[in-house]
């Protein structure tokens, strides 16, 4: 089991994730991830999806892994990466259930997911994390290594393998149907809005 709770109350997760890890995460949990993340956004998903439909091998093994929806800005000389915050997860909704079926255990983005994705998180035991959108400079500091592993021609949209340490996220959607966005809004909405 690779989920532990640190003295500051934040859960610490190592990759790859198992079902046992996923079931211990709840919407609203603050989490630090250490290990490997694969980046993929619109264009890379557009290439992965037909491969899945045809039952062909993907350029990355997704079982137990986490995909981070991001397209980083270029690194300055001497830096590992430029700015690297999340992009909107909802645009990947069309592709996500098929990846979860293959054993993908987590995605990181920002913004709401479809009902189909939330159902697939329950069915295949997986989790959707939120990173802070627009905090790309701060988030770059948690990336320790980066290499392009597929679709280099896509530039910022290529699939990159990141090694991260204590990468900060929140659990938005857990494998029980929990939804931080809905809970958070209910807690602070004022009736006369």
């Amino acid at each position: 089991m690779s989920v532990t709770t640190a003295p500051d109350g934040i859960k610490e997760v190592g990759t790859p994730l198992s079902d046992a890890d996923v079931v211990s995460l709840r919407a609203g949990d603050r989490v630090r991830i250490t290990g490997v993340l694969y980046t993929a956004r619109d264009a890379a998903h557009g290439r992965l999806f037909p491969l899945i439909e045809r039952g062909e091998k993907l350029p990355i093994e997704v079982r137990g892994q986490i995909i981070y929806y991001t397209g980083p800005s270029p690194a300055r000389p001497g830096d590992i990466v430029g700015s690297i915050g999340p992009t909107t997860g909802g645009r990947m909704d069309k592709f996500t259930p098929a990846l979860l079926k293959l054993g993908l255990k987590g995605t990181i983005g920002k913004g709401a997911r479809s009902e189909a994705v939330k159902e697939a998180l329950k069915l295949y035991k997986a989790v959707y994390f939120g990173a802070i959108g627009g905090a790309g400079a701060v988030l770059s500091r948690f990336v320790k290594k980066l290499e392009i592993v597929a679709y280099a021609d896509l530039g910022t949209e290529a699939i990159r393998r990141l090694e991260v340490e204590n990468f900060p996220v929140m659990v938005i959607n857990d494998c029980y149907g929990g939804d931080l966005y809905q809970d958070g809004m209910k807690a602070y909405a004022r009736e006369d809005a």
């Binding site: 980083p72 800005s73 920002k110 627009g134 905090a135 701060v138 910022t156 602070y188």
Partner: protein, 280 residues
Amino acid sequence: MREIHVSAITDAVKKLCMEANLELEPDMLRAFDRALQRERSPAGKQVLQILKDNAEMARTKLIPYCQDTGFVVCFVELGQDVHVVGGGLDEAINEGVRQGYKEGYLRASIVRSPFDRVNTGDNTPAVIHVDIVPGATLGIMVMAKGGGCENRSKYKMLTPAEGLAGVKEWIIECVKTAGPDACPPLILGVGIGGTFEKAAILSKKALFRELGSPNPDPQLDALEKELLDRANRLGIGPQGYGGDTTAFGVHILTYPCHITSLPVAVTIECHAHRHKDVTL
């Protein structure tokens, strides 16, 4: 007739693009501080503090505030006594974008066609709006417009019978549908009146007013404050984690309209509100 060489325009645009992505304007930093004082949600407060830290890191470490370094939207106010020499105005602006995005290590986010989706590699072209105005100066306003929030921008043609009440409901509806996707705290640029395209352009231009400054029209100012208060009662909060700071501001511009029409356009802007301007 005053002559301005295109190289001066290119240099100015290049500088504005780089600065916009690395240094948030003071009006944005003040908005973070104001929100931190009244936000009740611990998660929301934490987000606001991290965004402040992010702005500081962008400025000092020269890492863009957001990895989406935006579509360059450029409003030009060209004095009618100015003669641009040495080339075309649009190409001068695009060359500035090209140089700024390359030298500033900013992301290329523009594809050459909506269908084949091949990246142009240098973030060109910009979206350029030019107004001819009296005088002998050239004003350039640059915004690096993020895609995630732009995707939540909306337009609706209301009827005159729906009136002010209908306008208010529609704008609040836009905040709800933007939700956590558009990176709240948001800024709403609102264009009301004119035609289909006029309302949309006004909604962009409205975002250039200093955040926190009053609308010069007292009635619109009251409307902006009412809508901001309502938006912040929705509970969406910073990043949608729940809280009191769903929006930092609502900026409205209006224009006369046809007796049949009540067009309303809402540009959704995220907290990475990167705007700079210069007058040549």
